[in-house]
Subunit: 160 residues, 2 copies
């Protein structure tokens, strides 16, 4: 956090530059995140217990590969646009002012998909509980939270 003074008081979320690295997934998954931009907000204030991003989805973009966590909870709040929330139960169209939460350990894999012609803007919150693992039921992929970063593996445990 040395480049972000602890004395930052407040900021306009959309003024923050999007994260330069579009995705931390290995290929071929990273390329599927092209229409997604993440503005990393919580880190700018030095927060470490959880992260908060303002994320933009262009038309046809997805928030992530559909996934679920073993230990880390997630929450989203729609600021603008009408993304489809995809879960194990199917699709639900969201709208500004709607929210959803994804409790760790439930196995309910989720993602947002922008099937509209308008940009979607939403806040996403996730904590940083150690020993988290992420399952991706639709892909040959799993992730392990290791030393503060994500390691991506094939489902059989082999490296990408």
């Amino acid at each position: 956090m040395s480049d972000h003074p602890a004395t930052l008081t407040a900021l306009i979320a959309t003024d923050v530059a999007p994260r330069a690295k579009k995705s931390i997934y290995p290929e071929p998954f990273a390329s599927r995140m092209e229409g997604r931009e993440k503005r990393i907000l919580g880190d700018l204030f030095g927060l470490t217990n959880f992260g908060v991003n303002l994320t933009t989805l262009a038309p046809n973009a997805v928030s992530a590969l559909r996934h679920c966590h073993t230990h880390q909870d997630e929450f989203i709040y729609i600021v603008q646009g009408r993304p489809s929330l995809v879960t194990n139960e199917g699709k639900t169209q969201l709208a500004p002012g709607m929210c959803a939460g994804f409790k760790a350990g439930t196995g309910n894999a989720h993602c947002l998909l922008n099937e509209t012609d308008e940009v979607v803007l939403y806040l996403e919150v996730g904590d940083r509980t150690p020993n988290d693992e992420v399952a991706y039921p639709d892909e040959d992929l799993k992730a392990v939270f290791h030393n503060g970063g994500w390691m991506f593996l094939h489902k059989d445990g082999s490296s990408y």
Copy 2:
């Protein structure tokens, strides 16, 4: 969480009923929270690692007594209205789309104050790291997070 099925997919945040108990502070502090309403969102989805509330401040209402945490990070995002953020450094007027974060352990005590004639609506996020303590520099009050709940004490450690 037994009254909130884990299968809740999404909801309109403003449709959630405000928390019945207006404040968990002891008197005379609880009465000062009259114009504040908290809609508890994260708990409805069974989240336990952090809480997310949609909070409303009527004109002249405050978000909380000015305070800082030892272990729990906090984050706010302004949905509507123009509250004043009060910190150790003074006052900053916020606007919709602005955000702020409060890193635990910095000693920078903060609250929001609605000095306008319009209602303020904001999202607040806080984690639930154990052994947290809260300091209230302007009041004879401190709080300790104990067995998942808050215990309020005079600064000398005596009970309210």
